[in-house]
Amino acid sequence: MRSERCGVSERIGSLADLHEVRGEIMFNIFISGIIYSSLVFVVASGLILTLGSLRIINLAHGSLYMLAAYLAYSFFQLFPDHPLYFFLVLLIDFVLLGFLGAAIEVTLFRRIYRSDHILQLVITFGLIWIAQDVIRGAWGVGLKAVPMPEFLSKSITFIDYTISGYNLLIIVVALFVGVGLWFLLSRTNAGMIIRAITNDADMTNCLGINVPMWRTLILGLGCGLAGVAGALVTPWGSLGLGMDWKILMDLVIVIVVGGMGSFTGAVIGALILGQVNAFGILILPKFAIVFGFIVMAIVLVIRPRGLLGRPE
């Protein structure tokens, strides 16, 4: 990275320079892929947590993420631009969406654990419709955007490469969520209970553990993670009503590619999706979105249960 600022075309003086510029562009694309992977992973981890222990796939997870983003939009307009407030909004979204998730569990999911899985899917689909209408009613159909918080718009330069503070924050949050969930699930008593519920909820209940309460907590935590991701994505670009479908499709790809219910699989799936999206735009901008689906189809042909999915 040169110290003086100048255009790319002026800098390509020699072949060595050309290589340097191309390397930089490639790096930027790679990083943009990584950032999207990180974001999708945060949303997907919440979904996988609930998928495993509730045995219900909450298709409305993407809608909750969208709701969180719109809520964050309103909060950002309310609060002054300050790092403290930014993290406060993250926290508020986490708590609000967590309570919403818990409420959904208590009022709705609790009734349908023993239903046909077709009905379960249909019911969560109903939630998508409701969320969409609520958001359209409360915030309108127009695109919404907030300015990037000042402390995140600064760039940070490592040895040779530059990365913006915002991108770094997303990666850090994803790492934090990933490590935190790993620690929670494999190193704590609560994690042991969650894994027990995932394995056999009835037997866990017989052991005197209050499974309904734990399920409420788990869905709360999962939706809270969607809330964090929603708040994080708000300064990225503009928010629109199509967000829920877009993220739902990406979640489907991540979970199916990685293997349903596997956290490591979700990490791999998210990384693949991020890179496929980022480089897909470079190759065929118009149809870039389709590449993710093609990857998914290929993975399913080779391994019908996903990369890390276990046969049932």
């Binding site: 077709i118 019911i123 419709w129 409701i130 969409q132 399913l300």
Partner: protein, 317 residues
Amino acid sequence: MTACRDSGGHTYKNLFLWLGVLGVLCLLPFVSSRYYVYFFTEVIIWGLFALSFNLLMGHSGMLSFGHATFFGIGAYTYALLTKKAALQFSLALAAAPVVGLFTSVIIGIFCVRNKGLYFSFLTLAFGQMVYLILYRWYDFTGGEDGIINVAVPQWLMNITNTYYFALAISLLCLFLLRTITNSAFGAVLHAIRDNPERVKFSGLKVIRFQLASFSIAGFFGAMAGGLYVILMKAAFIEYIGLEIGLLPLFACLLGGMRTFYGPLIGAVVIVALDKLLGTYTQHWSAITGIAVIIIAVSFPKGVLGFLKQKTLGKMST
């Protein structure tokens, strides 16, 4: 197993019911205004679409979120063939279900290998893929603008004729679907729905039957799409979207997915709701969402299934 078959004792009653319904449908254009003829043409087409969907959901136990794909493909096949290739009406209309069958076999090969949630997910993903391709391929499909002024023969410009045409085609399709579900093939599908393991143990290839079911559903779904274009004289990108794909789901849930005719009742209700809610309120999607949740939680068997259970209960006591 026998839930979808007629029991022998009711044959005459059913025959009279059938003739009655058929008579009312045939006489409808003579007694009602053009608005209701139009309304019932829509009901007939959505009813056919819901029946094709129920072959998957109710009879085979496969929840497809991408059934609109075939509706849309049928619609676009007819519209593009008459518009770009200036093909004859009958050939273009016949091509719609054939192309639907073709694509559903291709998509089905990928999807039916996977069970339960994976299957639903994959149909969703493939549906979105086809949607995006048609949406972005502006030069060929018109993208967001869709294809308007689709040519139909002169005699179909009249709504009454369109009504009779749609009725005839749909009744033929209904007869075929009924034959399929009442055949040995249909019995295998029901068995797969209820217990795939045991069907596998008895030596049948479950995946082949599921693929066949998926393809047949695609065929009839595309037929409905083709008919809808003839009614609307335009094909829009919405036809292939998720909202359309969920309408038959709603119709089947409402009418009762374990019955054969339930989806038809559901189709009447959703078209009526669409017209009513569309004129009186903006919050169509929230009301639909709440209705779907309430029905799925409280009446998992649907209206017809609920009535059937009641009458059966009365008979046994």
